[in-house]
Every structure is written in structure tokens, then in C-alpha cells.
């Protein structure tokens, strides 16, 4: 079968699956079967976290730039789109509804809101990225954290979006939206990583100086991946705000950014499926711990943080490492690099090799 047909079939299957799952998770259920609202909530939040983790993985996992400001971009997306839906969406929807029908108008308006949110977050990413990506390592981390906190405090002081009281937002998001955009995010990041841009990004992660010496415009690529990553985070913010129907700046504190980092480190940095896996685990873990018996339930978060430490102590490279989970695992042994792809010493394309971290460590020690 030609690749195009294969891909179209795959896309069709995914879309049908998403629609079926959406029906399954709505109140009516699928053929009378449905999940309780609480589970639906957790699943949707997991989907949003998948978007966040996969997008952060682009800048942190593949480009090797350590950002702790993801919650800030999420907030930018959430609040700009909410401003749009709260103040303008109703008028536009009713006038557009006359022309193309109410439900389509509803979807179009939300699509517009998502685009606006993503664009605003991308712009924020550009503004933050250009100056801060000159910095390295921990300094970059702390500056991104600082920007995210400043964004949060600025939003806190804008009365039009609720300020400290919080902001009521109409509900647009359902599972179909979150699922589709999670898939879109994964496809975007997958395609970037497997393109020449992806090669450039990975080379920056492996050794920035060497990459620059090879003629890669490192600043340009770093800013590019930062902007894309921010735009996707903004999208996640839009979906989040229109699902919970209430925005408070407390949702975007730096602990949120930490949570996203935890997801990608837990899943394995530089692994797409790892990020997806980590996002799901980190969303589900605290919820599952609610089931702890009796008196233990108040220690839910204690157990959660203890588990986090234990995972890091026992599996420091993350659950998947840089490997990808999929059918190819079965035939990984005889796999060979294709075409002119750059090959590392283990005979696998560089993008799939171990993260640079261990190498970095020893090098750092030498330089010190």
C-alpha cells in the first residue's frame, strides 16, 4: 500500500476512534455505556497534559534547553482565548450561526480561540526566547521561571480577566477537542523531530559548540523550537481554560511547570512516547492514590512525592529513556539507519541515542 493511503487510513481510524471515545465519555454514553464524569475529567486532563509534555519535550528533551516556564505560556494562551470567548464569542457565534448553522459556528469560534491562544503564546515565547536563549543551563532555567512568574503576576493585575478573583469562561472543550489536538501535537512534534530541523535541534542538544561549528544557526533553531513549544503550550492552556470553565492564576504557578518537567523526565527525556506516558502517569497517580485506605488518604501527596523520588533513584533515565515505545520494538534488533542519516557509535541514528547528560557531566567535571 502506498504510504499516503496508509497514512490516510490511519488518520481516519484515529478520527473515528476519537469520535467514539468522545461519545463514550459524554453524558449520554456510547450505546448506553459511558464513563462517570469524574473519570472523564481525569482523562481530559491527561490529554491536556500530554500536549504540554510533548511540547515541552521539543525544547527540553530534543533541543536540550532547560525551560521551567511552560505554565506561563499556557497561561498566556488560556487568558487571551478566554478574553476572546467571554467578550466577543457570543455575538460572533450568533451572527455566524445564521450563515452556517449553530454547531458549526460553535466549533469555528473555538477553533479561532485556539488559534489566537496559540499565536499569543508563540508571541510570548518569541519575546521571552530571544533574550533568554543566550543563557545556558541553569541560568536559562531560572530566567524562564522568572518570566513565567512575571506573566502570572501581570495577568493577576489585569481586571478585565478577573484579576485575583478568577475568570469565568464558557465551556467549549470536550474530549474530541483535547484528543484531536493531542494527536495533532504529537504529529507536529514527530514531524519536526524527524526533519532536518529536528536534526539541527538534536545536534544542539548533543553539543552546541560543535553544532555551531557545523554551520547551524543555533540561536535561530533554539528560538524556533522555543516558539513552537510555547504555541503548543498555549493551545493546551486554551483547552484547559474552556474545560474547567474557570481560570485562576493559581493554576499557572511554577509548580505547574515543574509538573510538566516531571512528566517528561519520568517518561524519558527525548522520547515522544515517553512524554505521553509520563503525562498520563503523572495525571493518574495522584488520582489513583485517592483510593488509599482510610487514614492513609491524607498522605496521598506524601506517597506521590515519595514515589517520585523512588522512581528517580531506581530509574534515573526515566521509564523509557530515549527509546520510543511502539511496534518497532519487536524488530529493533536488526534495524539499520536509513539513507544518509547521521549515525552514532552504536549504529543508531543520533536522535535515538542516549541523552547527552552523562557525557555532559564528565565534560563539565573536566572543565571545572
Amino acid at each position: 500500500m502506498p504510504t499516503l493511503v496508509k497514512r490516510l487510513v490511519a488518520a481516519l481510524i484515529i478520527v473515528l476512534l476519537l469520535i467514539a471515545m468522545n461519545q463514550f465519555m459524554s453524558e449520554e454514553g456510547l450505546f448506553g455505556f459511558g464513563v462517570p464524569p469524574y473519570y472523564a475529567l481525569v482523562i481530559v486532563l491527561a490529554g491536556i497534559n500530554v500536549i504540554l509534555a510533548v511540547s515541552l519535550n521539543l525544547i527540553t528533551g530534543f533541543t536540550g534547553q532547560f525551560s521551567i516556564g511552560h505554565a506561563g505560556f499556557m497561561a498566556v494562551g488560556a487568558y487571551t482565548s478566554a478574553y476572546l470567548t467571554v467578550y466577543y464569542a457570543q455575538d460572533w457565534e450568533s451572527s455566524l450561526g445564521v450563515m452556517i448553522g449553530a454547531s458549526l459556528a460553535h466549533a469555528m469560534i473555538f477553533l479561532l480561540a485556539i488559534l489566537v491562544g496559540a499565536l499569543a503564546a508563540a508571541l510570548a515565547g518569541l519575546i521571552v526566547g530571544i533574550p533568554s536563549l543566550r543563557l545556558r543551563g541553569d541560568y536559562l532555567a531560572i530566567v524562564t521561571l522568572g518570566f513565567a512568574e512575571i506573566i502570572r503576576i501581570v495577568i493577576l493585575n489585569i481586571d478585565q480577566v478577573g484579576g485575583a478573583i478568577g475568570f469565568r469562561v464558557p465551556g467549549y472543550t470536550n474530549f474530541l477537542w483535547v484528543g484531536s489536538f493531542a494527536v495533532i501535537t504529537i504529529v507536529i512534534v514527530y514531524n519536526i523531530v524527524h526533519s532536518d530541523i529536528g536534526r539541527a535541534l538534536v545536534s544542539i542538544r548533543e553539543d552546541e559548540l560543535a553544532a555551531e561549528a557545523m554551520g547551524i544557526n543555533t540561536t535561530r533553531y533554539k528560538v524556533l523550537s522555543f516558539v513552537i513549544s510555547s504555541a503548543l503550550a498555549g493551545m493546551a492552556g486554551v483547552l484547559f481554560g474552556h474545560y474547567t470553565q474557570f481560570l485562576s492564576t493559581n493554576d499557572f504557578q511554577f509548580i505547574r511547570s515543574f509538573e510538566i518537567i516531571i512528566m517528561i523526565v519520568l517518561g524519558g527525556m527525548g522520547s515522544l512516547t515517553g512524554a505521553v506516558f509520563g503525562a498520563i502517569v503523572i495525571t493518574l497517580l495522584p488520582e489513583l492514590l485517592r483510593k488509599l485506605p482510610g487514614d492513609f488518604s491524607q498522605y496521598r501527596l506524601v506517597v506521590y512525592s515519595a514515589l517520585l523520588i523512588i522512581i528517580m533513584l531506581t530509574r534515573p533515565q526515566g521509564i523509557l529513556g530515549t527509546r520510543e515505545f511502539g511496534l518497532s520494538w519487536l524488530k529493533r534488533a536488526q534495524r539499520r539507519p536509513e539513507g544518509n542519516a547521521p549515525v552514532g557509535d552504536k549504529g543508531v541514528p543520533i536522535a535515538e541515542q542516549a541523552p547527552p547528560s552523562e557525557i555532559d557531566r564528565s565534560k563539565e567535571a573536566e572543565n571545572r
Partner: protein, 305 residues
């Protein structure tokens, strides 16, 4: 002018607290290149240890200099042990792994301490017993300085001088500097690096605990999450001064303390609401790092290919 001096005094008070905590961040970073996110929580632990010591030993009944000394020293010692335990059980096993792993572990430890305290003690703030008779003295006309502020200045200056002495005049300090210069070479020179790292954590934690008890005297409300924002700002202070640099941490702490107080005091005059207090530390940090990427007093490291 009076209010200016008043703001300056208040700013220096807050700044001295940030500086004490920032010292711990900077020392640990200097040696391990680890952002010890649990350090802000040690400051909280210090305040709570002080709280329980005061009640258990019966010093909570009334102000006494003896009580204050015992509570302060006791809290510093116990928190130092807590810091050493964290290093031993959480950080040492993963020291050789990637930066990101150690960082996540540090965040995990921080969450663990916070959640443990919330689960055991509840999140509601508690009133710290008064160990010092609160009096104010006026200076320069209308500016007032309270006894607890004087206490903060005296104790923090004394602790900083002590730290300076330990680092530059003792054998342990020499070893600490050697380890921070190059861990592997220090090991080859016969320095027991594990012990030195332990000592570093102990010193940093003791300073943070002192900051906790002193803050609790100045502003007698303690809660299990008080270390998050304060710790973060202290970390910013350490980076601002040049992380790994001891005088830099003090300078950064004082600068941020003063800037924050001034934003609250004078911000309205230039249209900056006092809610921007928490943002100003980050704004200063970003501005400074854009022009001096390694902080105010940090040394630039030449990158080798």
C-alpha cells in the same frame, strides 16, 4: 526622607533573611551544581522546629534571651541534621546521574517535605511564640527599628562572618573550596568529598533554619508552605549575585529585599501596584542576567571545545 530610611531598614531586614537562605543555595550549587529546591523547605522546617522547641521546653510562656538562644541554636542543629539526611538518602545515590534527574529528585524532596508537614500539621498558619520583648527604637527622627529587626541584623551578620571564617580559615573550609573548584581532583588529593558535601548541606541548612526562626520572630506566622516563595526568591538572589559565589548571595539577597520593599512603599507613585512585589525579584534577575549572564559577582567561565 524619614520614610526612605524606614523603607531601607525594612528592606534590609527582608534582604538579610533572603541572604541567609541564598547562602545555602549558593554553597550547594558551588559544590554539586545542584539546585537544591528543598532548601526553601528547610527554612520552613527550621521555623517549625523552633516552634516545637519553644513549646516543648517551656520557653513559649514569655520572652527570655535564654529561650531565644536555645530555640535558635536547637533549630539550627536539628535542621542541619535534616539537611544532611536529605543529602545522604536522596541526593548521594543519584549524584553521578544527569542534572535533570537530580533536579527532579530535589523537587520531589521539596514536595515530600511540604506534603508531609501539611498532612501532619495542617495547612493553617500557626502563631510563633514571642521570645523577644517587642520594642521599637526611633532613629533619625521618625524611622523606627524594632528589636526583632535588630536581632535579625546582629544574628545574620554574625552568621555570615562565621561562615566566611569557616570557608577561608579552617581546614574544612579549604576542603570545601577545593571540592567546589574540582570535585575529582579534590578526591585525588585525599579529601573525603562525601564528608565535605555533608558539611556543606549542614551549614546551609543551619543558616536557613536560623532565617526561619528569625523571620518567625519578626513576623510570627508560620505555615508549611512558607518556604516556597521565600525559597524561590532566595534562589533568585543567589543567581543574581552569581551562583556559587558567597558574597554574591549576600549582595543579591539584600538587593532583592530592598527592591521589594521599595516597590511596596513607592510603587504606587510611579503606577506600579504593590502586588508586583513578587515579580520585582524576577524582573531584576532577568535584567541583570541579560547584561551579566553569570550574575553580579559571578566569574565568567571560558568554554572549551
Amino acid at each position: 526622607m524619614d520614610t526612605f530610611i524606614q523603607q531601607l531598614i525594612n528592606g534590609l531586614t527582608v534582604g538579610a533573611i533572603y541572604a541567609l537562605i541564598a547562602l545555602g543555595y549558593t554553597m550547594v550549587y558551588g559544590i554539586l551544581r545542584l539546585i537544591n529546591f528543598a532548601h526553601g523547605d528547610i527554612y520552613m522546617v527550621g521555623a517549625f522546629v523552633g516552634y516545637f522547641l519553644a513549646y516543648q521546653l517551656g520557653f513559649a510562656a514569655g520572652p527570655s534571651l535564654l529561650g531565644l538562644t536555645v530555640v535558635l541554636l536547637g533549630s539550627m542543629i536539628i535542621s542541619a541534621l535534616v539537611g544532611m539526611a536529605i543529602e545522604r538518602f536522596a541526593y548521594r545515590p543519584i549524584r553521578k546521574y544527569a542534572r535533570m534527574t537530580t533536579l527532579i529528585t530535589a523537587i520531589g524532596v521539596s514536595l515530600l517535605i511540604e506534603n508531609l508537614f501539611v498532612a501532619r500539621l495542617g495547612a493553617a498558619p500557626r502563631a510563633f511564640p514571642q521570645l523577644l520583648r517587642e520594642e521599637s527604637y526611633t532613629l533619625f527622627g521618625n524611622a523606627a527599628i524594632s528589636k526583632s529587626q535588630i536581632l535579625i541584623f546582629i544574628v545574620s551578620i554574625a552568621l555570615m562572618l562565621l561562615l566566611q571564617w569557616i570557608i577561608f580559615k579552617t581546614k574544612v573550609g579549604t576542603a570545601m573550596r577545593a571540592v567546589s573548584f574540582n570535585l575529582n581532583s579534590a578526591k585525588l588529593m585525599g579529601i573525603n568529598t562525601d564528608v565535605i558535601i555533608s558539611v556543606t548541606f549542614a551549614l546551609g541548612s543551619a543558616l536557613a533554619a536560623a532565617a526561619g526562626v528569625l523571620t518567625a520572630q519578626y513576623n510570627p506566622q508560620i505555615d508549611p508552605l512558607m518556604g516556597i516563595i521565600t525559597g524561590l526568591k532566595a534562589f533568585v538572589a543567589a543567581v543574581l549575585g552569581g551562583i556559587g559565589n558567597v558574597p554574591g548571595a549576600v549582595l543579591g539577597g539584600l538587593l532583592i529585599g530592598i527592591a521589594e520593599t521599595f516597590v511596596v512603599g513607592y510603587g504606587q507613585n510611579i503606577g506600579v501596584p504593590s502586588t508586583f512585589r513578587d515579580a520585582v525579584a524576577f524582573a531584576i534577575l532577568i535584567l541583570v542576567l541579560l547584561f551579566r549572564p553569570t550574575g553580579l559577582l559571578g566569574s565568567t567561565v571560558q568554554e572549551k571545545v
